[in-house]
């Protein structure tokens, strides 16, 4: 089914269309959940809740060309994930437990290219929740620190510093991996 037809059928509550939508997008959505949640069990719960929400609010979706369905669904997923994180107050946890260097050495793009997706995901999942959330919003949702600060209820500075720390940790991981596997 094409995206448009699929969304139309889902809006009407067609069970087959819903199943197809799930099969088509669940993997990617679960990836997003995992990136935010950090552990698989929570991610699966978030995925479940997200699809409930998606099927529930299909009448609010308007199709605006190819990719709009996926983009809309991803927004729903991210919102569900943020809701969860806020509710459990994980964003402020472990903000600065680690002593991190002021500077870090940027890895090469080719290094990142060499590392399997699964491993990169692992690196992100292992970030402290606060770093991870800011990192996700900044990197994948293209949010500014101002927006992130609003969404998470923190100040901009804190957002920027958490992003910096996230990157520092990731850069370290990438280097270690290249050293061990390259």
């Amino acid at each position: 089914m094409e995206e448009l037809e699929l969304s139309e059928q889902c809006r009407q509550g067609n069970n087959h269309a819903r199943k197809e939508l799930y099969e088509q997008y669940a993997g990617r959505m679960l990836g997003i959940c995992l990136r935010y949640a950090g552990d698989r069990d929570t991610a699966q719960d978030l995925l479940h809740d997200s699809f409930i929400k998606i099927f529930d609010s299909f009448d609010k979706f308007t199709w605006r060309g190819e990719g709009s369905l996926r983009a809309w669904m991803e927004r729903v997923v991210v919102n569900i994930a943020l809701q969860y994180l806020r509710k459990n107050d994980v964003i402020n946890q472990a903000a600065s437990l680690e002593e991190l260097p002021e500077e870090y050495e940027e890895p090469d793009a080719s290094d990142v290219e060499a590392i399997p997706q699964k491993v990169l995901m692992q690196f992100i999942e292992e970030l402290p929740a606060g770093y991870r959330t800011v990192f996700n919003l900044y990197t994948f949702e293209d949010k500014s620190h101002k927006e992130i600060a609003q969404v998470l209820g923190i100040n901009e500075k804190s957002s920027a510093s958490q992003l910096f720390r996230a990157k520092t940790v990731l850069a370290k991981r990438v280097k270690e991996w290249i050293m061990n596997n390259g």
């Binding site: 069970n15 993997g27 479940h48 090469d108 992100i124 994948f140 620190h145």
Partner: protein, 422 residues
Amino acid sequence: MEEKELWMNKLKEKLADYSEPTPASGWEQLEKELMPSVEKKIYPYRKWMMAAAAVILLAVVSSVSLYFLGTPAADEMRHIQTPALATTPDVLPGVQQPDMQGTSVEPVLRPVARENRLAKVDRDIPEHKMPVDEPAVKDEPALVVEEKELGTVINEGEPTEETNAGQTQTQTKDKERPTAGNRPRRPSDRDKYHIPTEKPSSRKGTWSMGLGVGNSGGASSEVGSGAYPYMSRVSMLSVSNGLMEIPNDQTLVFEDGVPYLRQAKQVVDIKHHQPISFGLSVRKALGKGFSLESGLTYTLLSSDAKLADNDRQIEQKLHYIGIPLRANWNFLDKKLVTLYVSGGGMVEKCVYGKLGSEKETVKPLQFSVSGAVGAQLNATKRVGVYVEPGVAYYFDDGSDIQTIRKENPFNFNIQAGIRLTY
């Protein structure tokens, strides 16, 4: 804001389409939760659907005898006191000498009229083509005699009723006039007519209510009134010598001046009440709107009976336990309303019964089939009120105990109640 570094761009690009393998039962779990809005309530009446709760209105109308009573002819007949016989009366009435012990009696002056009363012995087999004006025969005996054929008389006069066996013996000791036409009239299955001398059908077209879940009975009309199978007319043959024997279990009674032998212990007149049922049922949804239903029902069949030797009324109460099995199909399943058709059968066993103070049970099982359409209003997701008009047919159980099932094997019923859904 910092510039996004190359390696970060790479990372984003690489993970943009990242897809995580989904859990195996992910969709199934989701579907389960979506169920209410996806397939709009299949009503898995899981358990004890009716448990405890159901208040029922039982209503009942019609059936064959009632539609019969609705005709003008029936109306007229209802007002006639004496049931009339559609068959030929005796053609040789004049020679008989109605009598009783020891005394001789004057020949009957209006023999045909008297013979008509023999109809009382008839079984209550309704015959619609019975001429309405037949009772008028009483006033025009001669005319009727001429019209009748002897052959018919012979046939109709054949004794068939077991209860009269003893009496037959008595009668046959006198062989002097063994003319068939002279034989006393006895109940025969071939006898054609009875008129239910019931009260004008006040119940016609009305719904009666009752507590219960489950089947109602049919129209309630009276059985046996108008026909007196327990009585046999005193044989004129047997008293022609001026004497007759009366068996111990019988009494001699006079009805309109005609002597009858009456069986003492027999039910004279029986009036059935509406059956009352309660039940529990369990419905198992099979998907696509189909479901199977079974359970347990209790039914009380009660009747007011009159015994032949006693004027006062006693009660006949039969308690049945039944197991129904039905299949249902929801052909409309909306949020507020569910419409369904249902069909099935039931087997019932009389577990206890009483006639007055004596025990009386029905040995054979009572089988029935039924069909219904139902409508359910869903107050909430779990609770709904339903109404279910239907038809049922009760097979003859082969026993000789009179029940409403025999009187109205085919009936319309309506049941209603509260349905709990889990």
